[in-house]
Symmetry: C2
Subunit: 332 residues, 2 copies
């Protein structure tokens, strides 16, 4: 910056003013400074900038799993929402791993980001509290922990679970297997509980839980194979998958075993990722408005950053929507 100042024939302070308080500088010198900046290709050192300013404009986001299109859709929504304010978004991928989540939280805490969007994996609440107490605004995405303390944007999982299950029951299916896990995840619990409640309300039918360690296609294949190992009368006539990746895995395993979908076993997923529509047998799914979730979370976060005194905690719950395709309804 000294070089820029020298070239423009002014002091470093004036260069700073030209960049950050253009009104404090006469038009003539402002132009001179900008010319010098352009000529030297000066880019300010954000470490120094932040150190003095005390704040980092960037927003951090810890994404649960970039391999899941649902979360990349959320991230894209966040980017859109942040674009209005021109704040950079720094993405970290926890890949469902608590240790990596912690590593990214450390990074963001060191960086003193002004806001944080996170879908927590591990026992993250104490960390989030500390971040908040130190001035980082926090909004939870697709999860709720510390309900009285942190705003969140989620989708009504119970409603989604009910929609899915009622759809299956309406089609005359009675023996439903829910494939997903681990049950520690609220998502999984809520969807499963709602499925059971729907079956109870219906008066007949059953829900069995096939627990998996993760929520990807491999888990779906493994879960389906466990079901296929059962004797025919024990087999379910419908599978409610914890999400679309799992559903695609289930579909692969069933197809390989020459089980007719949906005739023998119907499959319904959750999320309605783009690929659900172009699956081998297009997947019925419970649509989550991922991009909207991201946008909403970003907007809410910006509000809190602008006015941290707004201590009110807001939980936005978006509505899921049933999208019926061939994996339950049959062709045509």
């Amino acid at each position: 910056m000294r070089d820029v100042a020298r070239l423009a024939g002014v002091s470093p302070a004036t260069v700073s003013n030209a960049m950050n308080h253009p009104d404090k500088v006469s038009p003539a010198t402002r132009d001179r400074v900008h010319a010098a900046i352009a000529e030297l290709g000066f880019v300010r050192n954000s470490a120094a900038h932040q150190l003095r300013r005390g704040t980092n404009r960037a927003v951090g986001m810890v994404v649960l799993d970039v391999a899941n299109p649902f979360f990349t859709d959320v991230a894209r929504g966040v980017e859109e929402g942040l674009a209005a304010e021109g704040r950079p978004l720094i993405l970290g991928n926890s890949g469902q791993d608590a240790a990596r989540e912690t590593a990214y939280l450390d990074l963001f805490e060191e960086q003193r980001v002004s806001g944080l969007l996170v879908t927590p994996v591990g026992d993250t609440l104490p960390r989030l509290r500390r971040l908040r107490d130190r001035g980082t605004s926090v909004v939870l995405v697709d999860r709720r922990v510390g309900v009285r303390e942190f705003s969140s944007v989620t989708v009504d999982d119970r409603r989604g679970g009910r929609l899915a299950t009622e759809h299956l029951l309406a089609l005359g299916r009675t023996s439903v297997a829910f494939v997903g896990g681990p049950p520690r995840l609220n998502q999984v619990r809520h969807r499963l509980e709602a499925a059971r409640a729907a079956v109870d309300a219906h008066g007949s039918g059953s829900v069995r839980y096939v627990e998996t360690a993760s929520m990807d296609a491999a888990a779906g294949r493994a879960g389906a194979e466990r079901l296929l190992a059962l004797d025919a009368p024990e087999r379910p006539d419908a599978i409610f998958a914890g999400n679309d990746l799992v559903a695609l895995g289930v579909l692969q395993a069933l197809t390989r075993a020459r089980v007719a979908v949906p005739d023998d076993i119907a499959i319904i997923g959750f999320d309605d990722i783009d690929f659900a529509a172009s699956a081998a047998i297009p997947l019925t799914s419970v649509r989550q408005p991922a991009a909207e979730m991201g946008r909403t979370a970003a907007t809410r976060l910006l509000e809190i950053i602008e006015d941290p005194s707004t201590s009110s905690v807001v939980h936005t719950v978006l509505e899921p929507e049933l999208v019926v395709r061939e994996s339950t309804a049959g062709p045509g």
Copy 2:
């Protein structure tokens, strides 16, 4: 940090030494300092740290399109490769948009990241030169620009194009449409050129180019519809899609129009993303080793960071592999 020093009964300098040069501090005081750090939950301010240290350990990566699983797979590979050194990876998504790419390069330049992985979109070469001249190591991923200056990790697109086209020709297809674009992308050009060369070498057949503005499913649908609008004798009997997303879009459009795949028209994609295998008609594709590409790029970048004097430019070219599925081969 002053607080930590006070609590531990030492000077700030000792606290710093305890963290960064543990050998310079006696075990007793080191423990005392660490206890104080833990008690106060001290997290160092990375702005100050970097300002003094002059370097940022983090590595930046500008991903071309997080909506494309191919690139998230690459990013996962990069994370793996970087994990060895424990360097944080900061992700930015350009979404194929030159302006957003520039915004992220600005951010990374301000941050003085020690390394940069980028799949350039726009006219990025001058920016990369400047970054390199200022000490940021750069490795190109899935692209080559400034061949004498920047190391790169790519896949042999011509070979991939040849594999795909020879496969189609071997199946007796003669009229191939290449759907993809824009042609400004090297990838697209190389794959298309290789397709034409393969047809020439074969002695019969033809390749027509259906140009699209982007490389997503929507583009694939649009491209396919243009082909469907042709009179029957004009229609191709095979479609080589620029990547799997485009291929999935093509497949959707053909299915909707009740065109039999592969009987009437065969489809082959590129990338072999996970979803290709679970598509409506499982997609034949040219597999790119995405994760390996990411790992390799990360490793190469770390080498350059460690020893910037290594001015040698290395271009790693990974080999693609044909994966035959039903969209060309027919069931069974």
